[in-house]
């Protein structure tokens, strides 16, 4: 039965070439764009390596020094008439305001007050991205270095290709070692082969390569740095104050506790930080932490709002409207096209019903036909998406983001295609299935 429908669908597509062309054009364009969006979401916000534990992340990148102040504004509003006061509506506004001095954290604060939290399974303290110019054969390249700790490797799940990562002993000993991404190894040495044990000259120091991991292009710099160096090698004395510095803190929460719980603990940790250090700028009395989940932090990086949850909901709506624009409009259009295409075949429906087809048969026939068409469009759309993704990756149009073609991406694309086929076919099929036999047969088109 299904094979009969597929055969018929194929023939009808071939017979109505113009219709087929128009609808395939729409379908493949829609699905192509949708697949690019899917690939982006999966690459940036999915849980493929190295973001395996991404849903357990809580991220703190700012320490806010805060001061509250009171303002009194007197507004004089008195009306005189012939030198006599007739109306006195003067009033005072007592306003409150606050001032924030935001910066990244000093590693001392992070180590002392933020490293040992109940709900955290892992804590990593790092400088997310410092750019260093490196000259290779006289050509300048820029490497983004992450100055990190051993825990970093337990949270960001890089795929190690060779060698190992550094340990606490090397951290403490300020060992001149680094771990490099395969892409950067190739850029620096001209090859990925046999780079272990070689030295890289970064920021005036020679570091020995002890490991290599697979490069993945992500917008968040700390997720795909070019090189990772123990942070004890960084020039920590240049940090602003006891409070402010270069560092971010990335947590992986324990299984079973909520991210909100961990956030609360981080927020609470601020109260334990002494406010009497001489390096504290004048006038600030409080410390505020605003930790975020990965998705929130991501949204905030793209569209800044002080409350990251607001950024997140804005980003969510942008994505939803994008999808709506690229999917709902073409779907409606396709439904419309399908209705007129099927209406042409009302006498076929009359015949089928006269010979025993019930409504379910008619509906499934047209949905299968529509799915055949959509899969065809999906294949073309997939080609389109591959070309676009390739172009985006080559041209680097999305900052550092590399759109991946993961198995999940294929699966989602396929699901979206089928869903699109069902949705755009359902309404026309349902409408047709309701046709009265006698009326359908009167359309004497066969």
């Amino acid at each position: 039965m299904i094979s009969n429908y597929i055969k018929l669908a194929w023939r009808i597509l071939g017979r109505k070439k113009f219709f087929t062309f128009i609808s395939l054009f729409g379908i493949s364009f829609t699905l192509g764009i949708l697949m690019v969006i899917l690939s982006f979401l999966q690459s940036e916000l999915g849980t493929d390596k190295p973001l395996t534990y991404k849903n357990d992340f809580v991220y703190l990148n700012t320490l806010s020094l805060k001061t509250d102040f009171f303002d009194t504004i007197v507004s004089i509003d008195t009306t005189f008439l012939n030198d006599e006061m007739v109306l006195d509506s003067s009033f005072e506004i007592k306003g409150t305001g606050s001032m924030n001095w935001n910066s990244e954290l000093n590693n001392g604060i992070a180590e002392e007050y933020l490293s040992d939290l109940e709900s955290a399974e892992e804590v990593s303290i790092f400088i997310p991205s410092s750019e260093h110019d490196v000259y290779v054969n006289g050509v300048k390249q820029t490497f983004s270095a992450l100055y990190g700790d051993p825990s970093y490797w337990n949270i960001i799940d890089h795929q190690m290709l060779e060698g190992r990562v550094f340990d606490q002993k090397e951290m403490d000993a300020v060992a001149k070692v680094l771990v490099v991404s395969d892409k950067s190894a190739e850029n620096y040495f001209g090859t990925k082969e046999g780079v272990l044990g070689k030295e890289m000259f970064i920021d005036g120091t020679n570091y020995k390569v002890i490991g290599m991991y697979a490069h993945t292009g992500k917008i968040m710099p700390y997720v795909s740095p070019d090189i990772v160096i123990p942070y004890t090698n960084a020039n920590l004395d240049n940090q602003d104050s006891f409070y402010h510095g270069f560092f971010n803190v990335l947590y992986k929460k324990k299984k079973g506790v909520s991210a909100d719980k961990l956030k609360e603990e981080i927020v609470y940790a601020a109260t334990r930080i002494p406010m009497d250090h001489p390096s504290k700028p004048e006038g600030y009395e409080d410390i505020v932490f605003r930790p975020n989940t990965y998705d929130e932090d991501y949204a905030q990086a793209i569209y800044y709002e002080r409350e990251a949850s607001k950024s997140y909901s804005i980003m969510k709506w942008i994505i939803i409207s994008l999808i709506a624009f690229f999917v709902i409009l073409p779907t409606l259009n396709l439904i419309n096209l399908n209705v007129s295409r099927i209406m042409d075949r009302s006498s076929e429906i009359g015949v089928r019903k006269a010979f025993g087809a019930h409504r379910g048969n008619i509906i499934s026939q047209f949905i299968i036909e529509n799915i055949v068409q959509t899969i065809l469009g999906g294949l073309i759309g997939f080609g389109l998406a591959l070309a676009l993704i390739n172009m985006i990756n080559k041209g680097g149009y999305l900052m550092n983001a590399r759109l991946e073609l993961s198995p999940k991406f294929f699966m989602y694309s396929f699901l979206v295609t089928i869903l699109f086929g069902i949705l755009s076919g359902l309404l026309p099929a349902y409408k047709m299935s309701k046709l009265q036999i006698v009326n359908a047969l009167k359309e004497n088109k066969l």
Binding site: F355, H358, V438
Partner: protein, 221 residues
Amino acid sequence: MIKLKNIKKVYRTKTIETTALNDIDLHVPKGEFLSIMGPSGCGKSTLLNIIGLLDAPSDGNILVAGKSIKNYASKETSRFRNEKLGFIFQSFHLIPDLSVLDNVELPLLYRSISSKERRTLAEEALASVGLANRKSHFPSQLSGGQKQRVAIARAIVGNPEIILADEPTGNLDSVMGDEIMGILTKLNKEEGTTIVMVTHDERMAKKTDRLIRLYDGSQVA
């Protein structure tokens, strides 16, 4: 086999009301070849559609193969049409995108039988109307008489108890018409299939067991 009691069919639109059938009582015994005649617009097709459960009467009772029919949209009625009835239309109503064989196979799609068995049955039905060698053609590649023979093959492939034919020879010349009549008569005689046929042609009607005449929605003979 078929019993109609006080069947009435009224078409209502906003402005006019047409009584297409008025108190029709009809009994068609098993194995009968009945023909219906009457002037254009007298309600022949309407009556045939009601017998074939394609349309609901406005009033009256209908009993087909011992069953009274109430819900025309139900799965059960679909199944009943599929198993007991076969239709032949004046304008053939073959599906242009399906090959001859696929057209003939169509009623069997709605039964749970294997595709191999469907093929075999469809080929047999085609052979019985003398078109075994045209099975891969498409309807547009056939003559009118051939199309109607395909339509007959489609009507008989499911081995129905009743065949309902609405002017099956109406679009054909007399030679082809005779050929079609021959097939139907043979089916009636050899298989015992009950046939109800609407026709404008006295000559054809004479070859059937019984003739009834409609005039303005009522039976007059």
